[in-house]
């Protein structure tokens, strides 16, 4: 009887957690050169529904191909995302704007936006600026860990 109660409690908790997560991430990398190459990766998760896309613009290398995927996440996958959000402490509001160069030719720029509704609370992270400066920000490392987890989870979905 105890086991059944624990199981029901676990399932109810899992269901509530999966229902209360809305996560949108866009990760844009722009190279400001003559070819103006751009890479935009987006993740969109609402409960157990997920959509992923990767788009290249401008000069494209042979292994850089656009991708799109829509799939339903398992309960375990949703739990993994929630765990990653908690472990990486990305349920916060934070901005980081960093542009130092006046002449941006040949410079890489990153624009990363994380919008999340987690347990009913909205959160937003914006990281915007020259790649070398953004990549030195602590929050960038945390967001990238979440992005890596999402790539793995979406790949297996």
């Amino acid at each position: 009887m105890k086991k059944i109660i624990v199981l029901i409690a676990f399932l109810v908790t899992s269901t509530i957690l999966s229902q209360s997560l809305v996560l949108d991430i866009s990760y844009t990398r722009i190279e400001n050169d003559k070819n103006r190459s751009t890479r935009i990766e987006t993740f969109s998760i609402n409960g157990s529904s997920s959509a992923y896309s990767l788009k290249y613009d401008g000069r494209v290398l042979p292994n850089e191909m656009n991708e799109e995927k829509v799939c339903d996440l398992t309960q375990n996958a949703v739990n993994d995302i929630v765990t990653s959000i908690n472990d990486n402490k990305v349920a916060v509001n934070e901005t980081f704007y960093a542009k130092e160069k006046t002449n941006g030719e040949g410079t890489f720029y990153l624009l990363i936006k994380v919008n999340m509704i987690y347990d009913g609370t909205p959160y937003e992270i914006i990281l915007d600026g020259e790649a070398n400066l953004v990549m030195g920000n602590k929050m960038y490392l945390k967001v990238i860990e979440l992005v890596k987890d999402l790539r793995r989870i979406i790949k297996n979905c």
Partner: protein, 160 residues
């Protein structure tokens, strides 16, 4: 040549100092529950140049982690840049207000009172919001103000 270099350096330092000095922020954020078990928290932020003063006070029922505190610290130039840019991108460089009409007639509500005063680039901005939070759920001004406050709170936590 040396003379020219010192003029450039002085101009650079002046620009840096002017850009940081021209930002003053005063925020008061009251958030609470009106019920049989009423409780509230009141935070205040004061940012002047790169100096920051923060305080939070709790009244009514308190959680374990809810302890009154005060903190003063210094923001970095990067912090100030982030704040300035966030004020612009979130549209907080405005004079605006929101007031809930039904607030006084309710027995239960989650209420808020937000006062934000900003002086930036020689301009003064004031935002005043008060009432039941449920009535502000779709209001951009409320959402962006709360975003800004929670962002500042985390910056204060991290600053030395």
């Amino acid at each position: 040549m040396k003379y020219l270099l010192s003029i450039v350096l002085a101009a650079f330092l002046f620009t840096l100092s002017a850009s940081a000095q021209d930002l003053n922020i005063a925020i008061s954020y009251l958030y609470g529950e009106k019920s049989k078990d009423s409780h509230a928290s009141e935070e205040s932020f004061a940012v002047s140049y790169t100096s920051v003063a923060y305080s939070v006070k709790y009244s009514g029922r308190k959680g374990k982690n809810q302890v009154d505190m005060e903190k003063t610290c210094t923001f970095t130039e990067q912090d100030i840049n982030n704040i300035r840019k966030t004020i612009e991108t979130k549209g907080l460089n405005v004079n605006d207000s929101l007031e809930s009409k039904m607030s006084k007639t309710k027995n239960f509500e989650i209420f808020t009172r937000i006062n934000i005063a900003i002086i930036m680039d020689g301009n003064e901005y004031k935002i005043n919001i008060s009432g039941d939070t449920i009535e502000f759920d779709d209001a951009k001004l409320y959402k962006n103000s709360v975003f800004f406050i929670t962002m500042l709170r985390k910056m204060v936590e991290d600053c030395k």
